[in-house]
């Protein structure tokens, strides 16, 4: 579904992404991990066409991402920080996106009712808490039932109930054969969701493995312990090889 070849991007002298090759397939739920500044957001933004890569290609369902913007109709994006025009109501924001995507007539509004946003739809965006704004972002990402979801820290700022709701939704979408790409620092939130793990460091791809593979090689069960184990034992040797 998403094929990335030799992707490189630097900001000035700083290499945010260094020759990344990835092949992401249908039905995978990929957790994108790495320390701050490792290039996770740059990778996501490159896929969305928000950051323009220097070298390399990104193909989505066979379409090369460059000047053709139509591929973005297949992606649902939930940004890390959602900020909206102050004086728009929740309903207006949702309607606007619906009007922009006039080609789409069926909507997945499960999350809107699940989060109870339909009850506060006339609230102005400036009066919303960070968590509620996050819920609006989540609803927008799922609204058109796209084939690919890109979720940047989706559960950050959500209350436990909403967080669970969102996680259930992600799991359901994954079993429906969608491709899901998540970044999160809260590893326990990814438990049971993630099927694969991509680890980035200093803009380089350290590994791209299934969770089972990692569980086997580390002998740990829980995701956070698996990752901690890998970071302590495997990463240093990986780094020396690169």
């Amino acid at each position: 579904m998403i094929e990335i070849k030799g992707l490189t991007k630097s900001f000035g002298k700083f290499k945010a992404l260094d020759n990344i090759d990835l092949d992401l397939l249908k039905g995978q739920a990929i957790s994108l991990l790495g320390p701050n500044g490792s290039g996770k957001t740059t990778l996501i933004k490159s896929i969305l066409g928000l950051v323009i890569p220097e070298k390399g290609t990104i193909c989505i369902n066979g379409h090369v991402v460059k000047n053709d913007w139509s591929y973005r109709s297949q992606i649902g994006y939930m940004p890390q920080i959602g900020r909206y025009p102050d004086n728009m109501t929740i309903e207006q924001v949702i309607n606007m996106i619906k009007e922009i995507r006039a080609d789409h007539k069926t909507y997945d509004e499960e999350l809107i009712s699940g989060f109870g946003l339909d009850k506060v739809k006339n609230k102005m965006m400036r009066n919303l808490s960070g968590g509620t704004r996050q819920k609006v972002s989540a609803c927008l990402a799922f609204l058109f039932a796209p084939d690919i979801y890109i979720l940047d820290e989706p559960t950050a700022g959500l209350d436990p109930v909403s967080s669970e709701l969102l996680k259930e939704k992600i799991t359901r979408e994954r079993s429906a054969g969608k491709l899901i790409l998540i970044t999160s620092h809260v590893l326990s939130d990814l438990e049971g969701i993630a099927s694969h793990i991509i680890y980035l460091q200093d803009g380089r791809l350290m590994f791209y493995k299934t969770v089972e593979e990692l569980q086997l090689s580390t002998g740990e069960e829980k995701l956070n312990r698996v990752v901690a184990h890998v970071m302590k034992t495997e990463l240093p040797s990986l780094k020396s090889r690169l």
């Binding site: 900001f11 933004k45 969305l48 066409g49 928000l50 950051v51 323009i52 913007w69 139509s70 591929y71 973005r72 109709s73 992606i75 994006y77 940004p79 920080i81 959602g82 900020r83 909206y84 025009p85 102050d86 004086n87 728009m88 207006q92 606007m96 996106i97 009007e99 922009i100 995507r101 972002s137 927008l140």
Partner: protein
Amino acid sequence: MKIIIKYVLLDLLRNRIVIVYTVLLAILSVSVLGLDANPAKGLLSLLNVSLLFVPIITILFATIYFFNSIEFTELLLSQPIKRKSVLLAEYAGVAASLAGAYAIGVGLPLLFLVSGTESLILVLTGILLTLIFTSLALLIFVKSRDKTKGIGVAIGTALFFTLLFDGLLIAFIYSFGDYPIDKAVIGIIAFNPIDLGRVLMLLQLDVAVLMGYSGALFKKFLGSATGSIFSLACMVFWVILPLLLSVKVFKKKDL
């Protein structure tokens, strides 16, 4: 694109600053026009106030608005829309609401108190200046990486055109006063949209004493009609050029 313009307008028409700006302009217009029995003097004072405040308020408000909408712009860009459409729609929304504020704040009082061609030209000048400085704000937004820098450049730009430019022009005229520089000065004035606005209005008012050096030059060399068309054309150019540049830069910008 129309949809985005509609919603940006929807947001800005309820924006407190835009509302306060409209009301302030209205109070100012009514009080300035009521001060003097001679409507030409009233129009002139209003012109001076507009030339001083419209550029700086417009460029500051627009720059801050564009920077505050970065995350929203990203969200829009994650939808299947062209970058160009998103940027131009945001420009149109901001420019239309600020121009509307000027049209209502200054235009309405003028319509009731001093209606006539001169008033129409003043409103036109104000609206053109709004469009120009929103356009410059957009260029500043796409060119600068962070908000603080952007706002700094915006203030600098406004001050350059309102104060510094004329100072430099006067210095130029004094230093080369012995040479035939009249035509060169007309050319230089085309580089300052605020001066162009002033000339446009003064040619219309025909108050020779108040026309100043630049206005008199325009009248002498171009005549009222040609002078007006020339300055109008230059101002339209000032709207379009930064817009085209912004679109070009934005196409390659990393968000």
